[in-house]
């Protein structure tokens, strides 16, 4: 079984387009460069970011 590759440390995976990207260190928000969705970021471990949820004000709204 594989551990997560080192190159993926500090990255998150966009929940919309599933592309990986690396938020700025300690950033509380980050925008996916691939699809443009803006995310709130939290840190389960000091240097490990996690997507907490979208910035709801910028979330695609129902038509």
């Amino acid at each position: 079984m594989k551990a997560s590759p080192k190159s993926r440390e500090g990255q998150v995976r966009c929940l919309n387009c599933f592309e990986r990207f690396r938020p700025e260190k300690k950033a509380e928000r980050a925008t996916c460069p691939s699809c443009g969705i803006e995310w709130r970021i939290s840190y389960p471990y000091p240097t490990t970011p996690k997507i907490r949820g979208p910035v709801w004000d910028h979330y695609p709204t129902p038509e």
Partner: protein, 634 residues
């Protein structure tokens, strides 16, 4: 050795206890836990009996690897005819009870009859006593366990107990061990309550000899490292299943206000990150390195002093999104309350949210609720409803009968709004955009269920080669498999494969978080085969383990067919097909399930199982799985 634990038949009407060996042949056919339980239940239960009558049979067991170095080998399984659905009742929990049961010399208990007065079972080093428990009746699940330890003067006793909900025969009453581990689904607490069985306590010092102890320990270290190295393992260690909530709500895959929406934007206050304010640390079950539940104390506010463990994703849904509450302490308090009173958190939350939708639509009024303002977001009303359900008071008494019973007591317009399968409420997730998950809950043998068939990794857009590697072993599969979770192709196979995996795990007594459930990088059939060789000394290939699972799964199916289930029970309520999802990303928004495609997927699923178009197990399948003799003519 690991195979010398006993089977006990306990008749609470007569007080007779018969202890026997478990034949090796049965082990090879069913292993233990859920697999052997369905064999015992199928054999010893007369069809058509009242689930709350003395004729019902309740099987309680430990899996074949429980209490050994196998990772998270902690699970207790409980099985009986369900008072909630009238079909298979089956539920599973972690903690420390099952290992202690094994150390006390037993793997399987088959409990029949009904005690005249409240009793409990005391199991210790090869002996079983039926003890008076009149003084325990009325205590909550936490108090009961403490009282037993005090009375028997041993703080190391592990007990499982029912709360007042089980005593009051609430049809979704659960069985609890510790502060959080609950055999929650299908009303097993009500079955124990109907038998006047308040609790079972176990304590033992009988060691379990391993077939290859050194190799088993080395292999366990390898598997532990494997599990801990996954991203899933790391996030579970931090926040447990609460982390799932943020992910699924972000996408639009949660249920809100009883299926009226699939996402809520005011989520910050109930996301897992709020746990840090209340947590006093994390805890785990026997043999688990993940420690996925928090211990918590609410320090101030109206719930000050509340303590507990968890909560799981399910409680976030039950006491958050579904009932319109948006404060974390209410989730913690609701979780604490249902565990103390002995209620299934999922079923209780779902039924209250159903009641709230009925109230807001004017189908029921304050006259029905005893003056309670049952609006979404009224946290006090939610807490009061939990109490009323457990005590069968007021409107709570109606909901305490579960979906089927409550529908009979409510106006006809109420029924179409109840979100259930086979009479058991659905998880607080929305499966309209995900055909594989929808098929899983429609067909699960114990009613709507996410823990018996869910291909959760279908949500991860995994590349097809990886899907082929996972889903192509130990049984070759060259049919379609797609990374798109909105697709219908190949999903029947994924559900079938997950059913076999989860059944195997439940036979072993290992936690599902330690297999391919929420991470693709977890142990599966290959690892199970190796564990069985090193621990109990059973030489079984990965395919042999699959065959055990398939045999046991078919027996569960046969149990339901014998109790009157038909193809129509493997279906979802109309809301899945008629009401589009209103929110979420493009991939999930404005989605319904397609009836024709779903029907075709169900046909494919039956065919994979070797069942006919009506969902009946064919004679060929009975022969192939060596079940013909066990069940007679189908």
């Amino acid at each position: 050795m690991a195979l010398n634990r006993k089977l006990a038949f306990i008749d609470l009407s007569s007080g007779e206890i018969e202890i026997s060996e478990i034949p090796r042949e049965l082990r090879e056919k069913y292993l233990g836990g859920r697999g052997l339980d369905i064999h015992l239940l199928f054999k010893h239960l007369e069809p058509g009996v009242d689930p709350l009558g003395p004729e019902n049979v309740c099987c309680i067991s430990a899996g074949i690897l429980v209490g050994t170095p196998a990772s998270a080998s902690a699970r207790t399984h409980i099985m009986a005819k369900s008072p909630l659905t009238g079909l298979l009742g089956s539920s599973n929990m972690g903690g420390f009870f099952a290992p202690e049961l094994r150390y006390a010399g037993f793997d399987h208990l088959v409990i029949r009859g009904q005690a005249e007065k409240p009793v409990c079972l005391w199991i210790h080093n090869g002996e079983i006593e039926i003890r008076d428990a009149a003084h325990l009746w009325g205590l909550d699940t936490f108090e009961t366990q403490e009282a037993i330890r005090d009375e028997l003067r041993d703080p190391e006793i592990k007990a499982l107990a029912i709360g007042v909900a089980g005593e009051n025969l609430v049809r979704f009453a659960n069985v609890v061990t510790g502060h959080k581990n609950a055999a929650g689904r299908t009303g097993m607490g009500a079955v124990l309550g109907s038998k006047n069985l308040k609790a079972i306590a176990a304590r033992g010092t009988m060691g379990i000899d391993l077939a290859q102890p050194r190799e088993a320990l080395e292999y366990d270290r390898e598997v532990c490292n494997q599990i801990a190295s996954t991203k899933f393992g790391q996030i579970m260690q931090r926040w447990g299943t609460m982390f799932i909530y943020g992910v699924t709500n972000s996408t639009g895959l949660v249920r809100v206000n009883n299926f009226q929406s699939n996402q809520h934007p005011d989520s910050e206050k109930i996301e897992c990150e709020n746990m840090d304010e209340h947590s006093t640390g994390t805890a785990g079950c026997f043999g688990c390195q993940l420690h996925c539940r928090h211990r918590y104390v609410i320090k101030d506010g109206k719930y000050a002093g509340t303590y507990g463990e968890g909560p799981e994703y399910t409680s976030q849904g039950a006491w958050g999104a579904e009932v319109g509450c948006r404060d974390f302490p209410t989730i913690l308090y609701g979780n604490h309350l249902v565990n103390k009173l002995g209620l299934d958190t999922l079923e209780t939350g779902s039924l209250i949210s159903w009641g709230m939708e009925l109230f807001e639509k004017g189908i029921i009024t304050k006259e029905d609720t005893g003056g309670l303002d049952l609006k979404f977001g009224n946290t006090d009303a939610v807490i009061e409803m939990i109490r009323q359900i457990a005590h069968r008071e007021g409107f709570g008494d109606v909901l305490a009968d579960g979906p089927k019973g409550a529908m009979e007591r409510l106006p006809a317009e109420a029924a179409p709004l109840c979100v259930h399968v086979k009479g058991m409420s659905n998880l607080h997730s929305d499966e309209r955009p995900t055909p594989s998950l929808a098929l899983g809950i429609a067909t699960a043998t114990r009613g709507s269920d996410h823990l018996r068939s869910r291909p959760a990794i279908d949500l991860y857009y995994l590349p097809e080669p990886l899907l082929r590697k996972i889903y192509g072993s130990p049984v070759p599969y060259d049919g379609p498999l797609t990374s798109d979770y909105g697709d219908y192709d190949g999903k029947a196979w994924m559900v079938f494969w997950q059913e076999m995996l989860y059944m195997a795990v439940d036979c072993l007594g290992v936690c599902k978080f330690h297999t391919i459930f929420l991470s693709p990088n977890m142990p599966a059939f290959d690892e199970f085969s190796k564990w069985l060789k090193l621990i109990p000394g059973l030489e079984m290939s990965p395919k042999d383990v699959w065959d055990v699972a398939e045999r046991a799964y078919n027996l569960e199916r046969l149990f339901n067919l014998r109790e009157g289930a038909t193809r129509k029970d493997d279906w979802l309520v109309d809301r899945y097909f008629d009401e589009p999802t209103p929110r979420g990303f493009d991939v999930v928004r404005n989605k319904t399930l397609d009836r024709d495609k779903f029907k075709a997927m169900l046909d494919e699923y039956y065919e994979l199982h070797g069942w006919d178009k009506k969902g009946r197990v064919t004679d060929e399948t009975l022969e192939r799985l060596d079940l013909a003799a066990a069940v007679g003519s189908n």
